[in-house]
């Protein structure tokens, strides 16, 4: 063997192998360090899996389950300035470089937020400081002494760290906020252009799509004109505005029309994304959103407020925000209402096979059977996909002594015979107002009957927030025909939210941070007037929480008021 292969070759081979091994191992430990750091940052667990000991405010003991870095500095690492506590950013570039406060990044904290004496002192007291190293990071975390040797306020807790965790944390912090010029285009950010997309699934008809696109187009057009105007005279605009201009870009929208069945969508989405990466997905519409939700979560791609009756509720995502829990929320509200009644006859749920109504019926069953001795019994009447609904279908249904729950679309609902003068046996029929598109298309007067109640996700008629009138006026003044008001106002809301968020984001293109900003501003009066209230918070993913059960007689009132 030795004669055939010179020793030197063997040695070279061995070295190469060793080097390769070393490389792989170091890559692996780096990945491992990253995971340790991430878990510590977000969950407060040390490298050995036990919760870290924390001391708060000088003398209060707690542990990593209660308090961790992400609670205050947030998942993005960009910190938090809201409320009575300013928390500085600790993203890699900020932490491991010399730091000097720059006005545009703390502008909101300086001038716009509600300030307490404490926050005011904190923000105005921000100072330049030297870069951190791993050792200095250790010192600030364990003893609160910063990179310049100054003592931080006790609002920054003290943590007992071990070496392995510190190493992991350093790796992880370096990864936060570390977007550079080369990687930005991969998340849809080019030097002059910011790319967005909107998504339509194949069930959306052309008229709906056109109505939504009209709002997008009008908004983008105006937005881009304003940006051009501001950039033409960067130092002209009064006061602070010029501080922000450098970060502004032209907005470009890409329309991602999906085709075929849901199993094919992931591939299509990947192809769209590869052709043109985008910073986030705005609105859009589709009956089923699961595949899109999963795509967005996998790619850490914000997916903001689609119009869908079936948001993913089982495991809430990080990057997908919804208006509401859709039909699941409706089913829950109905169940709560039915259970609150003194006396309720058994429920008969009517829906078409393989429709979204079928999913809604399952939600209602699931919610009703959560109680140990269910007060409300439910059975199903399933209409096949081909079956025609007509008087012959409804007649036997309407004479049963049952509480009817209709998870039907508009066309099917239209076949329900007039209830006036009918010898109805059941006290009540409940209908999903969203499924029959009641917001866009009121029923003709004679359809309303006291026996009929709607599950109603919107603000009560005549109690809409004032912003409704402004949102409508905006559309009219931009020449947008209001044909599908619900989806159009929802789209207007998404655009407002994103506009505010991008303004706050400036050139800190962290998608996590953009989501945190949206969590914070959704309650700031951006409600387009459709909902009674809208709000989000950290990790909250559904902005509208309540549905009303609205008797048709109330809508009748509204109709006659018109």
């Amino acid at each position: 063997m030795f004669d055939r292969e010179p020793l030197i070759c063997l040695m070279i081979k061995a070295t190469m192998l060793f080097l390769l091994f070393f490389l792989v191992m170091s890559k692996a430990t780096l990945a491992n360090d990253f995971q340790i750091g991430k878990r510590f940052y977000e969950k407060g667990l040390l490298a050995d899996g036990t919760p870290v000991n924390v001391v708060l405010q000088g003398d209060i003991e707690a542990d990593g389950y209660l308090i961790n870095c992400a609670s205050c500095h947030r998942s993005s690492g960009y910190g938090d300035g809201e409320g009575g506590n300013y928390v500085p950013p600790i993203t890699g570039p900020v932490l491991f470089n010399d730091y000097a406060p720059e006005r545009q990044y703390i502008f909101r904290n300086l001038y716009q937020d509600v300030q307490t004496p404490t926050t005011r002192a904190q923000v105005h007291g921000l100072k330049q400081r030297a870069a951190y190293t791993e050792q200095l990071l250790n010192r600030v975390i364990t003893s609160g002494i910063n990179s310049d040797g100054e003592q931080l306020s006790p609002q920054m807790p003290r943590f007992m760290l071990d070496k392995a965790t510190l190493k992991g944390l350093t790796v992880y912090l370096k990864s936060l906020g570390a977007q550079n010029q080369d990687s930005l285009p991969k998340i849809g950010v080019e030097p002059d252009i910011l790319h967005f997309a909107t998504i339509f699934t194949p069930d959306v008809n052309l008229a709906e799509k056109a109505a939504i696109m009209a709002v997008f187009n009008a908004y983008f057009k105006r937005k881009n004109l304003n940006t051009i105007a501001a950039q033409k005279k960067p130092n002209y605009s009064s006061g602070y505005k010029s501080d922000f201009v450098y970060a502004q870009r032209q907005w470009q929208l890409h329309e991602w029309q999906l085709t075929g069945s849901a199993e094919q969508w992931t591939k299509q989405l990947a192809a769209f994304y590869q052709a043109q990466p985008v910073f986030s997905i705005l609105g859009g519409k589709g009956q089923r959103w699961q595949a899109i939700h999963e795509f967005c979560e996998q790619r850490s791609l914000p997916c903001l407020f689609p119009n869908t009756p079936l948001p993913v509720t089982a495991k809430t995502g990080e990057y997908t925000l919804y208006f509401s829990k859709g039909l699941q929320g409706e089913a829950n509200s109905l169940a709560t209402y039915l259970e609150s009644l003194a006396d309720v006859s058994p429920v008969l749920q009517i829906y078409r096979a393989n429709s979204v109504g079928e999913v809604a019926a399952e939600f209602l069953d699931k919610r009703l059977s959560k109680k140990q001795s269910p007060k409300v019994i439910s059975s199903h009447l399933i209409v096949t996909e081909q079956q025609m609904l007509d008087a012959a279908f409804w007649k036997p249904v309407l004479v049963q002594k049952k509480t009817l729950v209709l998870w039907l679309n508009r066309d099917d609902f239209a076949t329900l015979p007039s209830l006036n003068g009918n010898n109805l046996k059941q006290a009540s029929i409940f209908v999903s107002a969203s499924l029959i598109d009641l917001k866009n298309k009121p029923l003709s007067h004679q359809r309303y009957n006291k026996a009929l109640s709607f599950i109603w996700p919107w603000a009560l008629p005549n109690h809409e927030p004032k912003r409704l009138y402004r949102a409508r006026a905006w559309m009219r003044s931009r020449g947008v025909p209001i044909t599908h008001e619900l989806e159009q106002l929802n789209t207007f809301f998404v655009l407002n939210v994103v506009d505010y968020a991008m303004h706050d984001l400036l050139d800190r293109f962290s998608r996590k941070y953009s989501i945190e900003i949206i969590e914070r501003i959704t309650e700031n009066g951006l409600n387009p007037g459709l909902y009674r209230t809208m709000s989000l918070g950290p990790k909250q993913r559904f902005a509208v929480r309540k549905n009303s059960i609205l008797n048709a007689s109330l809508l009748m009132l509204k109709e006659s008021n018109r």
Partner: protein, 226 residues
């Protein structure tokens, strides 16, 4: 783009870097350090003495209005409670009250951790109350999880309710913000017909000491040493 800096240290650093003559560098370095030292001393002299991290004041007028109001709350592990009944006990025993929400990131966990720390010293001596300002998200289940997370004992109770009721309550005690995300760290102390408001985040020792002071002042003697 105009960069706004509070001090120009970085500018001096740049000058320093250009001097590549070693002797000059050393000299400059000594000079620079000296300068920094002087600046540092000057600065530390200029710094105000350690500011307290919280302020306390007595709220004069709202007490009756706020605490006789008919506001229904729902307890995390129980039924409906009238707010006025809930705090009526403060004539015998102090009530410490905070407004929080379970998904709150930065302020509430610290506020609740403070109550978690003092609750052991206050068994049988005070009632602790946390009320959600995000009641449509914080249902009884969410609040129970939150209470468990903070090891709440039986004298620390958690409440949710109707959004409008809770907004009304917040307005009464003057802490309502249009957006719950602007929520601030406030703790209320109710004792013997008086209402105190603490703004900020005190330590455990401070909290107990302040409570003692208030008790002395209001001549409620439940917390007397021992």
């Amino acid at each position: 783009m105009v960069r706004w800096k509070i001090f120009g240290y970085r500018g001096l650093g740049a000058v320093y870097a250009i001097k590549n003559d070693l002797a000059k560098q050393r000299l400059f370095s000594v000079f620079f350090c000296g300068l920094l030292f002087i600046l540092g001393v000057e600065q530390s002299l200029a710094v105000e003495p350690n500011k307290p991290r919280y302020q306390i004041r007595e709220i004069q007028n709202t007490l009756d209005e706020a605490f006789t109001q008919k506001v229904s709350l729902i307890e995390a592990n129980g039924g409906a409670v009238q707010f006025s009944d809930l705090v009526a006990g403060h004539k015998q025993q102090p009530v410490i009250m905070q407004f929080i929400f379970t998904s709150c990131a930065n302020v509430c966990p610290v506020m609740s951790t403070i109550l978690r720390a003092v609750q052991k010293d206050l068994v049988g001596k005070a009632q602790l109350i946390s009320i959600s300002i995000d009641p449509e998200f914080d249902d009884a289940d969410e609040l129970q999880d939150y209470a468990k997370k903070f090891d709440a004992q039986s004298h620390w109770r958690f409440f949710t309710g109707e959004l409008n009721d809770i907004i009304r309550l917040q307005k009464q005690v003057d802490i309502y913000q249009q957006n719950k995300m602007r929520h601030q760290a406030v703790t209320f102390f109710l004792l013997n017909q008086r209402l105190f408001r603490l703004d900020g985040l005190p330590s455990k020792e401070d909290t107990l000491a302040e409570l003692d002071k208030m008790l002395e002042e209001t001549q409620l003697s439940v917390l007397s040493p021992g």
